[in-house]
Structure formats: structure tokens, C-alpha cells
């Protein structure tokens, strides 16, 4: 007969789905890969080096901080690698490596581990690191964009190209053709190829890593705002809106950063409020602020509001009779 001491008793359910945190993070890494390839094609080996340094330092900082705090090692869940990759995608290819390492320290040590590790951070780690770097080193972060494909030419360090967003804002300089905007533009590593970002987004949708709610509402809100503005300014509103959608970090932010689990609401209703908020703030900053780009700050602001959104959007348990209906029924009887 069977040795009863070997039997395991545990609470139901005794079957579990296959997904684990590690598999989800692996899917995100896979979804980010097309953009990485695109950035290497556009900016050369330097882009790969920045990404490698970012991922390696994020993983290392995660390992060290867990060790120092005497907690279980969590680098195996790959979340630090994802943060590293997204952080690199928010940096220009020309950035000095020590700044990359500094950014990694901010995101992993300060934003993630000091608040309790995975799932506990109140803002997106890569995002805050980008903002810290932007504020600390504006020259390296905002003024030195490598021209796409320049690394192949005779002057590999051409750092002149203005981003399309700057052109849109100031009206100085020429915008590239709309179709080239879909594949290659000046900007941070991960922003430059819209097609690759969308491809990664579709992969995550198919793998059910994310739902379409946040990206669709975010991008949709920006589109509506830009169309309204375009018509108000009596420009070619459609092309203005298209350029705005394809410029800057909007796609990267909407697909990969606003969808971060820890810093986005749980319920669908909450996600809609969150994403529309992101879209409105992004549009306001881009249209009326004195910065060119508003994606980072808009997501940051909405991240901070997530606990409140969550509290206000708790769904009613199945079958709960709405108050109004209850009153009506009481009146009828």
C-alpha cells in the first residue's frame, strides 16, 4: 500500500496554469527584441552595447540589493532584465556608459528594491531612471541624437539630427517622410522603429501578457487630442496627428511602460481611466508645455494615482443590485 506520510495535502486548486512570472517576463523580453534589432540596425554596435550594459547592471544591482537585504535571490524571474532592456530603450545611443549604470542603480535599487521588490514599486523603475537622467544630464539625454544609419557612413559620430518631436514643436527643420517615421527616426534606442514596437505589442497581445485596453486608450486619447488641435490650428490635422503618434516615446510608453503590471490599475475600468489620463497629460505637455516630450511625465503622474484609481474602481461582486435599481424596486413595491 501507499506510504501515507508521503502524501501531500494542500488547499485547492490542485491544478495550476502554466504561466509563471519568469515566463511572462521572458515574453516581454521576446516582445522587445524586434526593437532591439531595429536600434542596432539604425545606430550600430553602440546600441547593443548600451543595452547590454543596462541589462547587466540592472541584474547585478538586483542581485546585490537582495543579498544586502538578506532576501531570496530574484534575478531568475527576469524582471530585472526587462527593466534593464526598457531602460536602455529610453536612452540615446550616444550616452556614456557610466550614466547607463547610474540609471540602472536608480531604477533597481531606489525605485524597485527599496519599495519591496517586484510588484511593490509605485512608479515604473525604468521610467523614473530616465527622468532622473534627463533632469541630471540634459545635454547627454536630450541634445545628442545620432542620425539613423550614420554609423555606416564616414562620420559615425554625427550627432546633429533633431528629433521629429522637436521639429513639430518648434517648426524649425524638416520632418522626415511619414513612411520613414514608421521604421526609422532619430531618438532613444527603443523609440526609433514604430513597426518593431507594434510587432512586439502584437506578440504580447497574442500571448495574453497584456490586454489592448491601456495601449489603445492611451494612443487613442493622444490621437483625438492631436486631431482636435490640428483642426483648431487649421493645419493638415491628419498628418499632424500621425506624426505626433509616431514621434517620441509614445508607442514605447503606451505598449511597454504604461502596461507595467505593478504600476497600472487592476480593473478594466481603472485601466481606461489610467490610460486616458496618460494620453491627456502627454498631449497637454506636448502641445502647451516647454518640453518636447511628455510621455515619461504623464505615465509617472498616472502611476502615482494608481492606488486611488484602484480604490475607486473596485467592481461590484456578481449579482449585486445597483442602489438606484434597488430604490426603484422599493418604490414599485
Amino acid at each position: 500500500m501507499v506510504d501515507d506520510r508521503l502524501l501531500t495535502a494542500s488547499a485547492s486548486p490542485h491544478a495550476r496554469g502554466r504561466d509563471t512570472t519568469r515566463l511572462i517576463m521572458l515574453d516581454v523580453l521576446i516582445a522587445l527584441t524586434p526593437s532591439l534589432i531595429a536600434s542596432v540596425v539604425l545606430f550600430g554596435f553602440r546600441a547593443l552595447a548600451v543595452t547590454a550594459v543596462s541589462i547587466a547592471s540592472c541584474v547585478l544591482f538586483e542581485y546585490i540589493s537582495r543579498k544586502v537585504m538578506k532576501r531570496a535571490n530574484t534575478i531568475g524571474d527576469l524582471s530585472a532584465a526587462v527593466t534593464g532592456m526598457i531602460l536602455a530603450f529610453n536612452l540615446p545611443s550616444t550616452i556614456p556608459f557610466w550614466m547607463v549604470i547610474f540609471g540602472a542603480a536608480i531604477s533597481i535599487i531606489v525605485v524597485k528594491q527599496m519599495f519591496g521588490g517586484i510588484g511593490q514599486n509605485f512608479v515604473n523603475p525604468a521610467l523614473l531612471a530616465r527622468i532622473v537622467l534627463m533632469v541630471s544630464f540634459p545635454k547627454a539625454m536630450l541634445a545628442s541624437w545620432a542620425t539613423p544609419f550614420a554609423w555606416r557612413g564616414s562620420t559615425p559620430d554625427a550627432v546633429t539630427s533633431a528629433t521629429p518631436l522637436a521639429v513639430l514643436k518648434t517648426g524649425e527643420g524638416d520632418l522626415p517622410a511619414l513612411w520613414t517615421m514608421c521604421f526609422a527616426k532619430a531618438g532613444c534606442l527603443g523609440e526609433v522603429c514604430a513597426a518593431a514596437l507594434v510587432l512586439g505589442g502584437i506578440y504580447m497581445l497574442v500571448r495574453r501578457v497584456i490586454t489592448p485596453v491601456i495601449p489603445a486608450c492611451y494612443i487613442g486619447t493622444v490621437a483625438v487630442c492631436m486631431l482636435i488641435c490640428g483642426f483648431a490650428r487649421q493645419e493638415n490635422a491628419w498628418s499632424f496627428a500621425a506624426y505626433e503618434l509616431l514621434s517620441g516615446g509614445l508607442l514605447l510608453g503606451a505598449i511597454f511602460m504604461a502596461t507595467d503590471y505593478a504600476t497600472s490599475p487592476i480593473s478594466t475600468k481603472g485601466k481606461i481611466i489610467f490610460a486616458v489620463g496618460c494620453g491627456l497629460i502627454t498631449s497637454l505637455i506636448r502641445l502647451f508645455g516647454n518640453m518636447n516630450e511628455g510621455v515619461s511625465f504623464s505615465i509617472l503622474i498616472m502611476n502615482i494615482l494608481v492606488p486611488h484609481i484602484d480604490r475607486l474602481t473596485v467592481p461590484k461582486p456578481f449579482g449585486t443590485v445597483k442602489e438606484k435599481k434597488k430604490k426603484k424596486e422599493a418604490a414599485a413595491s
Partner: protein, 448 residues
């Protein structure tokens, strides 16, 4: 399929959440096999929700199949009958699978399965007679909950307009309800007619998940042959999604009605009965033989020969597994019931009870994933058919906050396990829900 068969309808409403479990219906085509009479059965006095029964036999008594051996004067309770003929050798306490200590009657079988002479068809022509007969039969919900059926059937006359016969069988592995539909389809239909006519229920829906095409085919064909009730009995095929067979979920799928928290199905005009319970009522009215045996699926990665078996109530789990070729590999976990809501047992030396519908044994390879930190992905909330947010409730439970817990609707949870199934961090969310409920109950007790 589907539209081509008359009398087969599709679900009225699409359920929220749920998870896609692997079906593992390996035994779907295996006929129910009647196992040889065991040497000994141990019959617990608590096999139902409600008051436990008191043994009315003593050590040394001769008993026969169908003889009442335990009863209670409480309304929410149901009598218990001897499942084999033989001699009572012990009346004492045993620990059940769920940790409850219960009185139990041990009967040494004489191998003859002699029927008790008092067993004769009951009078069941009026509502009162039917309710009394169902109580005397010892019937409980055979789908797993074990709620005494006579209590369920005693709704206020005229309040229920739809009888839903639950043959969804959404738990993985289990196929006995499927076999009941196929092998005893006429019992199912005559059970339906008895309930329909005597209790005055105008409409009947037999609800089956799409992954049981044979059962759907047979029942819809028979339902179509009953001329008198044309259109009143329909077979409805439902999406194969867990937990389709949960009572509130099923009512919503079949009728679009939502049972409010804390209310009963009859509050929205529905009565949900498990298909095996319905078939049993038909057989009982015909023969008067009480609930002394039941069908079980025996399956899982550690079982040598998976089978559907019919066994006397009180037969030992270990004996049943022996009849299925024993273990293929060392069992790591043995479950009574399905893998989503069943109970892990710590011994094979426990008896089969009225509400058990499966015995599953799994090897080490099927052990659960490791628990890691919550990443706040919200998949538990997305999977919850009751629109709860299990991760939030787990947080309140940790803080011991009874007020927030009841506001979050923890009591609505039916412990289907969809949240924990979906959790990538392997969190014991169902356990947290049980903790949450006990915190609420404790607080309610304290406040009066």
C-alpha cells in the same frame, strides 16, 4: 453539429472570467463498472451539509442494503443507509478527508448484498409526498456540494419557473455525469418529468458543456421524443470554460439571471439539480432503494488503469484504487473530487462519501509551482466569475480587516479556484479567501 440537432440551444449569456483548464476527460468513453462487494465499508454520519446523523444501529447488529443506520431530527440533514449487507462491527469516530471528526458505522460485509425488506417504492404523487420521499432516500447533491436535496426542492410553490439540470461537469478528469447522461439517459428524463410535474416547474434546461457531444446528442434526441412536453425540455450546450457548472454561473449562462450575493437560486426563479441526482430520483421513485452507491471517476497520472466505477458508499479509497490496478508511480497527492475544488487527502484509508465524484492520484511531476511575489498582474481578478479582486482581498486578509473584507465581497467567493489557477506567482489565493471568510465570520460573531 449544434444547430442541426433539434432541441439543442446555445447559452443565453456569456459568463465573466473563468479559465481554460485542460480537460483530461480520459475516461469519457469508459462504461461505469460495478466493483465487487468490498469486505468492509465505513459509513460516516456526516456526508452532507447540515446536522450530522446519530447512529441507530449497534455493534453486532445485522443490517441489509438500504436499511437506515443513522438519522437526525434536524431539518437540514438527511438519513444514512447501509450500503452492504452484513454485521456492524464498530460505531466510533473517524477523521474525514476535510478534517472533520465524525461518527461512523463500520459494516463487515457478508458478500450477499441482501436488500432490506423495508425497501419498497415510495408514494410520490404530491409535493409533500415527493419531498418526504426524497428525504427518506438520503439524497444529497451528487455534484460535490452535498446539500440535502429535500431542502433544495422545498422552495415556495410557484416561485421557480426553470429547472436547470446541471451536466456541465466542468472539472477536469471527471466523466461520471457524462456517463450518467449516456448510460442512464431515460432515468434522467423521467427524473425531470417527476420534478417538473409534481413541483410544477414549467421549463427545464439540461445544461451540458460542448465537450460532451455524445451526451448532448442522446439527451436531445430523447427530449425530442417526449411529445407531450415539446419545447418545454431543452438541451443547452455551454462553452467549455471552468467554472461553467458552478450554480450561480450556470444560472447566468442558462437564463441570463444573476443571483444576488447572499440570495438563493429560487430568488431568481431557478432550481439547479445535478444530473446524477435527477436520475437517482427517478430510480428511487421506481424502486425505493435509497442512496447506497454512487459512480466515481478514478484517474490521474499515478493510477494504473483509470476507470469509471460504481461503488457502495463507505468503500475505502485504497480498496477502490486497488481495483483500478493500483498505483503506477508513487502517488504525491490523492484528491477526492476534481483537481480544481477537490480535497487533498492524507491517507487512502478514508471512505467514499455520498458527494464524492472522483478519486484522483497524481505523481510528483504534477506538483504545484513555487510561490513567488505578487506582481500585481490582475489575472486573478480577470479570472474571477464573481467579479472579485482576490489579490486585494488577500491584502485585507493579511491586515485582518473584516470590514474591508466584507465590503470587497469575500463572502461571495465560491472557491472555484480560477484565481489561483491563473496566478503566475503561484499564490494560495483560495486559501486566502477561506481565511478572509473566517475573519468576517469571527467579526460577525463578536459584534453580536
Amino acid at each position: 453539429m449544434g444547430q442541426s440537432i433539434p432541441h439543442v440551444r446555445s447559452a443565453v449569456a456569456k459568463i465573466r472570467g473563468g479559465v481554460h483548464v485542460q480537460h483530461h476527460k480520459n475516461t469519457a468513453d469508459l462504461e461505469i463498472e460495478r466493483l465487487p462487494v468490498p469486505d468492509r465499508v465505513v459509513i460516516p454520519m456526516q456526508m452532507h451539509i447540515g446536522a450530522p446523523c446519530v447512529p441507530i444501529v449497534n455493534v453486532g447488529d445485522e443490517v441489509a442494503v438500504g436499511q437506515c443506520i443513522g438519522d437526525s431530527t434536524a431539518y437540514v440533514s438527511t438519513p444514512i443507509h447501509a450500503s452492504v449487507s452484513g454485521t456492524v462491527t464498530a460505531v466510533g469516530d473517524i477523521t474525514l478527508a476535510n478534517g472533520v471528526i465524525s461518527r461512523a458505522v463500520t459494516i463487515e460485509s457478508d458478500g450477499q448484498m441482501r436488500l432490506f425488506e423495508g425497501v419498497q417504492p415510495p408514494k410520490a404523487d404530491t409535493r409533500e409526498e415527493l419531498l418526504a420521499a426524497v428525504r427518506a432516500s438520503g439524497l444529497v447533491g451528487l455534484g460535490g456540494a452535498g446539500f440535502p436535496s429535500h431542502v433544495k426542492l422545498a422552495f415556495k410553490p410557484g416561485t421557480v419557473d426553470t429547472l436547470i439540470v446541471n451536466a456541465a461537469e466542468c472539472e477536469p478528469y471527471i466523466t461520471v455525469d457524462n456517463r450518467e447522461c449516456i448510460e442512464n439517459s431515460w432515468d434522467v428524463l423521467s427524473g425531470i418529468q417527476i420534478l417538473k410535474e409534481i413541483l410544477g416547474i414549467p421549463r427545464v434546461v439540461i445544461a451540458i458543456e460542448k465537450n460532451k457531444p455524445k451526451a448532448i446528442q442522446i439527451l436531445s434526441t430523447i427530449a425530442g421524443q417526449i411529445e407531450k412536453q415539446k419545447g418545454e425540455i431543452t438541451v443547452m450546450q455551454l462553452r467549455s470554460v471552468y467554472p461553467q457548472g458552478a450554480e450561480k454561473v450556470m444560472i447566468y449562462s442558462a437564463t441570463g439571471r444573476r443571483v444576488p450575493p447572499g440570495k438563493l437560486p429560487s430568488d431568481v426563479g431557478c432550481l439547479v439539480m445535478n444530473v446524477a441526482s435527477v436520475a437517482f430520483i427517478a430510480r428511487y421513485v421506481k424502486s425505493g432503494k435509497p442512496l447506497v452507491s454512487r459512480s466515481l471517476t478514478v484517474d490521474g497520472s499515478a493510477i494504473c488503469t483509470p476507470k469509471n466505477v460504481r461503488v457502495p458508499i463507505g468503500m475505502m479509497v485504497g480498496d477502490i484504487i486497488d481495483h483500478c490496478g493500483g498505483f503506477k508511480t508513487t502517488p504525491y497527492k490523492i484528491i477526492t473530487g476534481g483537481p480544481m475544488m477537490g480535497l487533498a487527502v492524507i491517507s487512502t484509508d478514508i471512505p467514499v462519501m455520498k458527494q464524492n465524484n472522483a478519486i484522483l492520484a497524481f505523481s510528483k511531476a504534477d506538483s504545484l509551482k513555487k510561490e513567488t511575489d505578487c506582481i500585481n498582474c490582475g489575472r486573478c481578478a480577470a479570472a474571477c466569475p464573481m467579479s472579485l479582486q482576490p489579490t486585494v482581498i488577500a491584502r485585507y486578509a493579511k491586515a485582518n480587516d473584516a470590514e474591508q473584507l466584507s465590503r470587497a465581497g469575500a463572502m461571495v467567493c465560491m472557491e472555484c479556484g480560477s484565481c489561483a489557477f491563473n496566478c503566475p506567482a503561484g499564490k494560495p489565493l483560495v486559501q486566502n479567501m477561506r481565511l478572509a471568510k473566517s475573519i468576517i465570520r469571527e467579526a460577525a460573531k463578536k459584534n453580536g
